[in-house]
């Protein structure tokens, strides 16, 4: 049942140019600004590094370039994709279709979440393949790429969960996109503004703070737990929000 809903979402994304265009644009941006520029800069910068400890591996240098770019671009891409998930259905009154079917609210929300994350996973896998293609010329640290992909995947899943919640709270997709973007931007840069106080609790909430270890190739269970809870919280809130539709009308 969950997968029937997820499948519908995927189909909808690919039935309009939107899905294809976003996938293509993401790849273009990651390849051009992340990958090729990384390759370019690597030779320029590394040839200047004399001492061996200053030198970075190609995977880490270029991978970091690509994945930090990806996390930034996803900040724009995810709100655009998540905005219509529930708000548009509410506007077109198609939510009734899902509500009248023998589905629990959790199944509806999970289905939509999985549909969106699957779509974004395609983009992440393509990015991973792109970076791995370096293996044709240099020895690639696949563990590093895997950690980065996992980090990006968790980050994107968190973006999606928040996006779905915001989408569930409004009737206007554009409003949902803007609110999602603003909130995500705030969460991402929170630790930047509070950098002066490293002990502040808010630092611990910042998404970027938890994404960073992955970009160094470190998988920390604390970060895994953080992302897991983040997703769980917003999906639960979405279910509650939809339930309020039924209760309050």
């Amino acid at each position: 049942m969950i997968f029937a809903v997820a499948g519908k979402e995927l189909r909808s994304m690919f039935s309009s140019p939107m899905g294809w265009v976003i996938l293509a644009l993401l790849q273009l941006v990651f390849a051009h600004f992340g990958f090729f520029e990384g390759v370019d800069k690597y030779y320029k910068i590394m040839s200047g590094m004399v001492r061996p400890e200053e030198r970075l591996g190609a995977t880490e240098f270029i991978g970091n370039n690509v994945f930090s770019m990806a996390s930034f671009v996803m900040l724009f891409a995810v709100p655009l994709l998540s905005m219509r998930l529930i708000s548009e259905e509410r506007k077109n009154q198609t939510l009734t279709f899902l509500f009248s079917a023998p589905l629990s609210l959790t199944e509806i929300v999970l289905g939509k979440f999985i549909g969106l994350v699957t779509f974004l996973t395609i983009s992440i896998i393509l990015t991973g393949v792109m970076v791995s293609s370096l293996n044709l010329w240099v020895t690639v640290d696949f563990g590093y790429i895997a950690a980065n992909m996992l980090g990006l995947w968790l980050l994107v899943a968190s973006f999606s969960a928040l996006g779905i919640f915001v989408s569930g709270s409004t009737q206007q997709p554009i409003v949902a996109a803007i609110i999602t973007f603003v909130v995500l931007f705030g969460l991402l840069t929170m630790d930047f503004y509070l950098a002066g106080d490293p002990t502040s609790v808010f630092n611990k909430i910042s998404l970027m703070r938890h994404f960073e270890p992955f970009s160094h190739g470190i998988i920390d269970t604390r970060d895994l737990a953080y992302f897991f809870l983040f997703v769980l919280t917003f999906l639960t809130l979405t279910v509650r929000r939809l339930d309020a539709d039924r209760l309050r009308g």
Binding site: Q93, L95, T96, F97, S100, A101
Partner: protein, 310 residues
């Protein structure tokens, strides 16, 4: 054997201080078609939303084939097919895709899915539209897709909220025939404000006004109310009214507009024949004699008006 498919008891829904539906109770058996009538804003749609689990009632309960929709929504919803006022269609899908999705969500197994889609399309006359995007279909065809998605899983109860809105007369006839056909094996609840429609397809009628049921009974009862014991008489050289009153069976005669006379007669003693004989004999110039039917509209207005004055 009759099985009760829907049982609603004391359904009440309040928005703030505004009670939209108050103590609505009824039950429906298998094979019955129930017409749900009411003026705009009477609470028809709200009641239907509660019946289908789209809205939680403030008080009261709904049982679908004995399953409480609030306590066990999944099992109960599987037995219902619902077409809301606005057909809930994903415009970016084709007719086939939409129906397949509806089937899957309603628990039709993959094996039977293709056949179920085929049958639903056949019943609603959509076979030729299979590959078309719903967005490109006319309003009438979209309405049919809406009905098709409601019946694809062969539900025990079909709930249709104003299903013939926006259809052309031929489509309306087809859809009415379909509703009658559905009534054979399923229970159908049909909300409408088109009164002749109710007369044509429904076995039972409920009239709701300001959130309360003001009439609940068989269509025959409503028809009887409508027939009355009256004749409409048109005479070119009308005699004095009391001369007509002398004819046996006639209770009273009143003149109404256009020179017509309304003749009230005693139950079971239709004096039409005697009036005609008399008219010919005395050269009254009879040019019209018809049973005077109070239109269903009038009955409807009477029922809702009574409620308002109470």
């Amino acid at each position: 054997m009759t099985t009760v498919t829907i049982e609603a008891s004391e359904l009440t829904r309040t928005y703030g201080n505004n009670t939209v539906v108050r103590d609505v109770s009824f039950s429906l058996s298998q094979g019955e078609v129930l017409g749900f009538l009411g003026p705009n804003g009477a609470g028809k749609s709200t009641t239907m939303k509660m019946l289908t689990g789209n809205l939680a009632p403030t008080a009261g309960s709904v049982n679908i084939c004995g399953i409480d929709i609030i306590e066990n929504p999944k099992a109960a919803k599987a037995l219902i097919g619902y077409l809301p006022e606005q057909p809930p269609l994903y415009k970016e899908l084709t007719v086939d895709e939409m129906l397949a999705l509806a089937g899957r969500l309603h628990g039709v197994t993959r094996k039977h899915l293709k056949k179920a889609v085929e049958i639903a399309k056949q019943r609603t006359g959509l076979t030729e539209m299979s590959g078309r995007l719903i967005d490109n279909l006319s309003k009438g065809y979209q309405q049919r897709v809406g009905i098709a998605q409601a019946i694809i899983h062969n539900p025990m109860v079909v709930i249709l909220d104003e299903p013939t809105v926006g259809l052309d007369p031929i489509q309306i006839r087809d859809i009415r025939a379909l509703i009658k056909e559905l009534g054979g094996e399923h229970s159908v609840i049909l909300s409408t404000h088109i009164l002749p429609e109710v007369e044509m397809v429904c076995d039972h009628v409920q009239i709701i006004h300001k959130g309360q049921l003001v009439f609940n009974g068989g269509i025959d009862v409503l028809k009887q109310q409508r027939q009355g014991n009256k004749l409409l008489l048109g005479l070119n050289n009308a005699p004095a009214l009391n001369e007509i009153e002398k004819i046996s069976g006639v209770v009273s005669v009143t003149a109404i507009q256009d020179g017509l006379l309304r003749v009230q007669y005693a139950v079971g003693e239709n004096p039409a024949e005697r009036i005609v004989e008399m008219a010919v004999k005395k050269k009254w110039g009879l040019h019209q004699i018809t049973p005077d039917q109070t239109s269903l509209e009038e009955v409807f207005v009477q029922l809702t008006y009574q409620e308002a004055t109470q």
